[in-house]
Symmetry: C2
Subunit: 210 residues, 2 copies
DNA sequence: CGCCCATGTTACCGATCTGTAACGTCCGGA
DNA sequence: TCCGGACGTTACAGATCGGTAACATGGGCG
């Protein structure tokens, strides 16, 4: 064995990582319930036994995939603070642009929502991951709105959050040419109205996305 | 047999209707892929053979359930016109209230979205139903906004549509106490900002939902 | 070298799924 | 009264699913 699981010196990825990546991909393509563990293992270039040695069950694999997906949001928020330090309003506008860009990728960024729909059992391990992630993202967005000087910060954050979730879902329902394509323009209009209500009209940044 | 399928004079519903209703219910509770045709038939008080005599396959049953769900939107729009005749702005406000009320029911009104997530195959019969329904609802909402004198009618309609879709989905993800509970207030704020932009501030109707 | 452990391979279990065949039953209309 | 069609019942086929057991293999490290 290699000395450490974290410091992987091997050139190709270990089975565990390959399984997670391929599972995420296949879950998006065929739905979580639409793909079996056997297919995941085979597509990942390994076999079912190795999969079950790393993940005790399919449900645990699902939860681990969601945790991995959720982790991708961390560098996103870090970059936001890093690229616009001390300018929360600019960060808010960049948030809109960035999540729109992320949502228009094939991944769509709605793995967690998909899981919530496909696994309605209230005690499924995946649901805890989803709820925790959604709550955390909302808190961060509320904080950003508040620091940006928005008076009704929670209201704006919830509006933007629901708008984003709706855009993601609408994209999955009717394709990328529907209303979701106009998310940036819609979100900017909402921000503008909330900024005006706060008396702070700001730079009147007009980003037309569509 | 009875003379006509439409004029059902029997006191209890026929198997076909019972199957559709129970299928809708079970699909919502366990997910579409999470329930088998055998369970549907049994819960509907009939058996699998009768199910397959009415619906050629499970996929056709799914599509028929979605069509039935989509049909429930027709009386909704009719009531809107009937209760506020000639007052499109009032109809728009009532739209917000009504869809919020509908979305807060256990049904949630997102059967079609669920199907779109659970059945990613692009040529699945259910997808056509979903796309057609979403497009139709958008057109109606755009028309309502336009008649209400909103300048950027499409923009407002898309914002409200995505907001609603986000609220529905968020409710399924994090439960009924999340941001989705504030949908009415958020939607009203958006309408107000678009009305103000159109110069027509109107009655300044302030419906606080949360 | 020789041990250990992650991985690969094969076979299998029991359950469940969609879908079909064959046959019995019952009721409404002609 | 008799016939036809809708409905119920049982059994089954064929496939796939999640999950496990037993064993072979191969490479890193002492």
């Amino acid at each position: 064995m290699m000395g450490n699981d974290e410091l992987v010196s091997c050139c190709v990825k270990r089975p565990r990582e390959r399984i997670i990546e391929m599972a995420q991909l296949l879950f998006r393509k065929h739905g979580i319930r639409g793909v079996g563990v056997d297919a995941i293992a085979e597509e990942a270039g390994t076999n079912k036994m190795t999969l079950y040695r790393h993940f005790g069950s399919k449900d645990e694999l699902i939860a681990e995939c969601l945790r991995e997906t959720a982790r991708t949001a961390d560098p996103f928020w870090r970059d936001l603070e890093q690229n616009f330090p001390g300018d929360p309003l600019a960060q808010l506008h960049e948030w809109v642009r960035a999540v729109a860009s992320y949502a228009s990728m094939e991944a769509g960024g709605c793995d967690l929502v998909t899981a919530a729909f496909e696994l309605p059992e209230p005690d499924h391990p995946a649901r805890q991951v989803v709820e925790a992630f959604k709550h955390e993202q909302r808190q961060k967005l509320v904080g950003l709105c508040r620091k940006a000087g928005i008076e009704e910060a929670e209201k704006l954050a919830d509006t933007l959050g629901l708008l984003l979730e709706g855009a993601r879902v609408n994209r999955r329902s009717v394709g990328p040419d529907g209303p979701s394509a106009r998310f940036v323009a819609l979100a900017e209009a909402v921000i503008a109205s909330f900024s005006a209500a706060s008396g702070k009209v700001g730079e009147e940044r007009q980003v037309e996305g569509a």
